[in-house]
């Protein structure tokens, strides 16, 4: 669940007459309570500092990835351990070095660090995008020859090893 969604929910609940909101699915559990919810309830103090068990993966600029619990493009719930590999430039995305060559990767492929994932053509220069860590390709998020913007998710991968 992204911040925007959380904000939206907060807004809706706030403007409603509900004093307690509790949402749970496979990925997320969100509780909101207004003070009226505490009448006749004795709740013990527990302040929550930032959880320590979160890792953010941030590698070099040439093959930037970001951990994200939910890719923007995907509607269905997604395994939070998946990582998006995003485009580091505005470009055209090619899955293969030439129209007659086979694609660099297919869904299900396991790749090593340094393996080429795709070509990003920008200003007539063919840039090879390399994997920055070993991973398995779970999903290819853009079509061959599609125009992509900076930061656009290209692959959904599962980190290996």
């Amino acid at each position: 669940m992204d911040v925007k969604t959380i904000k939206e929910i907060i807004e809706v609940v706030e403007n409603s007459e509900f004093v307690e909101f509790d949402y749970k699915d496979d990925d997320v559990h969100l509780i909101l309570k207004k003070k009226e919810a505490f009448v006749g309830d004795n709740i013990v103090a527990q302040s929550a500092p930032m959880p320590t068990d979160i890792q953010i993966v941030a590698q070099n600029a040439a093959a930037q990835e970001q951990a994200s619990a939910k890719p923007e493009s995907a509607d269905e719930p997604v395994d939070a351990s998946l990582i998006e590999i995003k485009s580091p430039m505005v470009a055209t995305f090619y899955r293969a070095p030439s129209p007659t060559s086979p694609p660099y990767v297919e869904v299900g492929d396991e790749v090593k660090k340094g393996d080429v994932l795709c070509i990003l053509e920008a200003m007539k220069i063919m840039n090879e995008l390399e994997a920055d860590f070993p991973c398995r390709i779970e999903k290819i998020l853009v079509e061959n020859a599609q125009k992509v913007e900076y930061d656009q998710p290209l692959f959904l991968v599962k980190k290996l090893g």
Partner: protein, 447 residues
């Protein structure tokens, strides 16, 4: 006319271009950094392409990403706004290579006009006065004396390699000249490692007055009157008005004629601004700006023209539809640049805007991309709104501006609003007797 314009800029100027394009039925493409994802220019454009991270050098100034965005978008024209790539001839060239029209001058004109010495020599042929000075650094005392005598006192000695006032000396008569020259040399040596000094006429109480011009591809040039931008802090314009309140009708006509002549002499096309210093008697050309300027709305509101639409029409090879005799001054206008900054120390004040009321009512124009809940990013310049008002005369405009400043509610960031509220009630501003040094020397020291 164009089908689709990509706007290579952000914030209020991007909105300004989107507005003009929409009114012309042209579709629009925004570019944005990840930081600007929730910006109004992204929201209001028909399409938007992310071109990089927050840092402008890696997004809005990233030639490769912006160029590829132009190619990917399928646009047929690019508007650069001001700042960023707007005065970069390489970018103009890239647009040409991509087969899209850059809305502005061509790359050669842009390069040529950035060379001040070249511009000066062209204008001098047409008897258009520039600030008189020595031809480069002065080598010997004889040249020094002769040049100073030719130009007339007071003169200004300046370090050729310097800046920020170091090695700068005002000399009011010949007796002091040699002593001050030597002192300036020593100071320059200490400060910049080189002791080259040049000499220029010192203009005592300069007003900064500029003329807005439009030139089409067929040699037609019109002016849209002048803007008085004398109110500056460290050479940054803060408030602009049109017309200037310090010009006689005769001087104003002369200035306008000079600007049109200079534009033709320089072969300039599209919207441009010719900046002059005015010492109460004479005008001295400083430079030509080859782009739309932040303060263009004061001219638009004073004369009832739409400069961005004119820019687009000119770039699409139309003839100027405006005739000089139809361009009539309708109002006195004034603009304040509302920055997110500390009004006393002028430090930027980024942050989340959590309360907002934008002034409205008669005679008010606001150019802004600000909204309640917006984050003012520290990554970009601090201009958050341009507040422009008109009146039937300068005093009505001034009082309306004060009314609007008073009405403007922005919470979450500090703004320059209190600064303007003080400025607009000073005697010097009311009587219009200040010069370009007013804020730095007089107002800030006094307060």
């Amino acid at each position: 006319m164009f089908r689709k314009i990509l706007i290579a800029n952000r914030s209020e100027i991007a909105l300004r271009v989107i507005r003009a394009a929409k009114e012309l039925g042209i579709s629009t493409v925004a570019i944005y950094s990840t930081e600007d994802k929730n910006s109004m220019h992204v929201e209001l454009a028909d399409e938007a392409i992310c071109v990089g991270p927050a840092l402008a050098a890696e997004s809005y100034l990233n030639l490769s990403n912006v160029a590829q965005a132009i190619a990917n978008s399928g646009c047929d024209a690019v508007h650069p706004g001001y700042g960023f790539l707007s005065e970069n001839p390489t970018f103009v060239n890239i647009c040409k290579d991509l087969g899209v029209t850059f809305i502005g001058p061509d790359d050669k004109t842009m390069s040529n006009l950035a060379d001040k010495a070249k511009v000066k020599s062209i204008l001098n042929k047409f008897d258009i006065p520039t600030v008189p000075g020595s031809d480069g650094s002065i080598e010997d005392i004889d040249t020094l004396k002769k040049t100073a005598a030719d130009i007339g006192y007071p003169v200004l000695l300046k370090a050729s390699w310097g800046g920020g006032g170091k090695g700068m000396r005002i000399v009011r008569n010949e007796e002091d000249l040699v002593r001050e020259f030597n002192a300036a040399k020593m100071e320059a040596k200490v400060s910049f490692g080189k002791d080259d000094i040049y000499l220029e006429k010192f203009i005592e109480h300069p007003r900064h007055i500029e003329v807005q011009v439009l030139g089409d591809l067929y040699g037609n040039v019109v002016h849209i009157g002048e803007r008085d931008c004398t109110l500056q802090r460290r050479h940054q314009k803060l408030l602009e008005e049109s017309p200037s309140g310090v010009l006689s009708e005769e001087k104003r006509r002369k200035l306008h004629e000079t600007a049109v002549l200079a534009t033709k002499a320089l072969g300039y096309q599209n919207a441009g601004t010719l900046e002059f210093l005015f010492d109460g008697e004479n005008f001295y050309f400083i430079e030509i700006n080859t782009r739309i300027q932040v303060e263009h709305p004061v001219s638009e509101m004073a004369y009832g023209v739409d400069l961005i639409k004119e820019q687009i029409a000119i770039a699409s090879k139309e003839q100027l539809s405006l005739k000089q005799e139809d361009i009539k001054l309708k109002f006195h206008t004034m603009e304040c640049r509302i920055n997110a900054e500390d009004p006393d120390r002028f430090y930027p004040s980024p942050g989340m805007i959590n309360k907002l009321f934008i002034p409205g009512g008669p005679g008010v124009r606001v150019d802004s991309a600000v909204y309640c809940g917006m984050n003012v990013s520290p990554s970009y310049d601090s201009l958050i709104a341009k507040l422009i008002v008109k009146g039937s005369d300068r005093e009505e405009a001034r009082l309306r501006m004060l009314r609007c400043l008073n009405e403007f509610v922005i919470e979450g960031v500090k703004t320059s609003i209190p600064f303007f509220q003080r400025i607009l009630t000073t005697k010097d501003f009311v009587s219009n007797t200040y010069d370009t040094n007013f804020i730095d020397k007089k107002f800030l020291n006094k307060s």
